[in-house]
Amino acid sequence: MTPPVSTEPLLEVRGLRAGYGASLVLEDLDFSMGAEAVGIVGRNGMGKTTLCDTLVGFLPPTGGEIRLRGQRLDGRAPEKIAGAGIAYVPQGRRLFPSLTVDEHLAMLARRTRAKRWTPAAVYELFPRLAERRKHGGAALSGGEQQMLAVGRALLLNAHLIVMDEPSEGLAPTIVDVLVDVVHRLVDEGVAVLVVEQNLRAAVRMAQRQLVMVSGRLEAEFSGAELLDRPDLQSRYLGVGGADRALR
């Protein structure tokens, strides 16, 4: 794979605005990233999922620009955006209950010929999925469901994979697997944007962490810095102080 051109970021978002009906959730959001792992952290209701949905075209933006490798993607249909190279691992996995594990992957197999990620490669990455090929999507454990959701996204052989709360509700060993997968993807030149509530998981997946507050990206920290500074955590993430009592 050719190294990313340093002058042009892989993903560039400028002045992005989006929302539901009259209520604006994202307001003039800017950021850019290369072929790296970037985390987005923030409290509940700050617009993290809305940002993901907007990036992949599930929610059409009302303003601003989204560029992937220079190509304008804002306002395009989800299938076009996926085709252009953004894959999505949504919150709650959104597997298809009617399909088996095998069918989730077979459905996309035709597009993966001679590409890096094929159903066989996904089974190699997640041997536990291979054991459960014939099981329905709904009969899997939470960890297996997440592996399938990631595997399904891998089959798009995308330039960027957007993951919304991948560690949600998962056992620590499964989170380890996911962290490992993110690192491998970045090593292979694939960018990963991870939205997380769980700061520890987020920091292990990505060094660069953007903090989202009320529909904007307010600050950028390194993972180590965020972990070391309780004042930042309580200010931006609602961890510690009065919020801790609610957990």
Partner: protein, 357 residues
Amino acid sequence: MNTTLGRGPVDSATRRRAVLRRTPLGAVALAVAAVAAWVAFLADDTPAGPATQDPGQFLVTVLDAVTFAGLLFVAASGFTLIFGLMRTVNMAHGSLFLLAAYIAIRVQESMVGQSRNIEPGHVGMLDWLVPMLAGAGVAAVAGLVIQQLFLQWNEGQELRQALMTLALTVVLADQMLREFGGLAQTMVWPGTITHFLSVQGERYPVTRLFILGVAVLVGVLLWLWLTRTGTGMVIRAGVDDRQMVRGLGINIKLVFAVTFLVGSFLAGVGGVLGASFAGAAPGTDGNWLLNSLVVVIIGGLGSLRGAAAGSLLYGTVVAFSPAYLPSEYSYYAIIMTFVLLALVLAIRPYGLFGRPA
């Protein structure tokens, strides 16, 4: 905090709710048992008589039920396929059914070279099959045109789509009346299957079994298509979560078009079977829209298994009510359809195999 205080009443409320939830199921089980006992032993004074005394009538009624269910399944499977994937209640489904019937009758007349009083003996298997494919083909193309012209740019606007297709049924009904006239017409079965079997001393037409055979064939082919092919997997995935399918880079518009084509083709096959079985006339379109609706409401919208189960239940009620209601009440047999609907919806509000949209 005060969970210990709250636990008592919460538990008894949960228990009461659980009992309430089971009640309709128990009531239905009781009702089914009562009906079975009635049909088996008690049904004197009915057109058919108790099954234990007149097993022939009973068998014929069972055959009537399954064969009619076959016809229902062919018509409703296309309807449920289109609805399940596209959330479009295609109100023109009945019109496509009738259109295919009329086209097939025309083609058959010109193939046999006779337009009235065609004898089954003069109709070869091809004189039935070719018109059937022609009629269903026209229905398929008409369905695709409706989808492309009116529905595809109204994706997600269910009410608009329903109203548009309903308006189309009115227009199509008038146009068909102008073109094909107001008299009932019949598609003639091929002579090779126009025979009777003897079932426990009762004569039973082979053509009805032929309908069942076509229905089974359609069911198997549809099942293979949906489970073994990439398109089928995408369709099932689309029934579950349309947006996520698009997020995987799949052009769902193309899948919609294929689904509409197949669904309309099935409406056409149903129409030709129906025209051979009971004739085609103005009003047949509305009847079959209603039949398809009832079947998929019972079975659950968007489920092939549901369409099969719904067809069987509906076919059973339609065949058994006139035979086993007391003779002076036979006239009310049609009401039993609605009883069935009410019962099913009481236990499973989304239909037997349905899921909330």
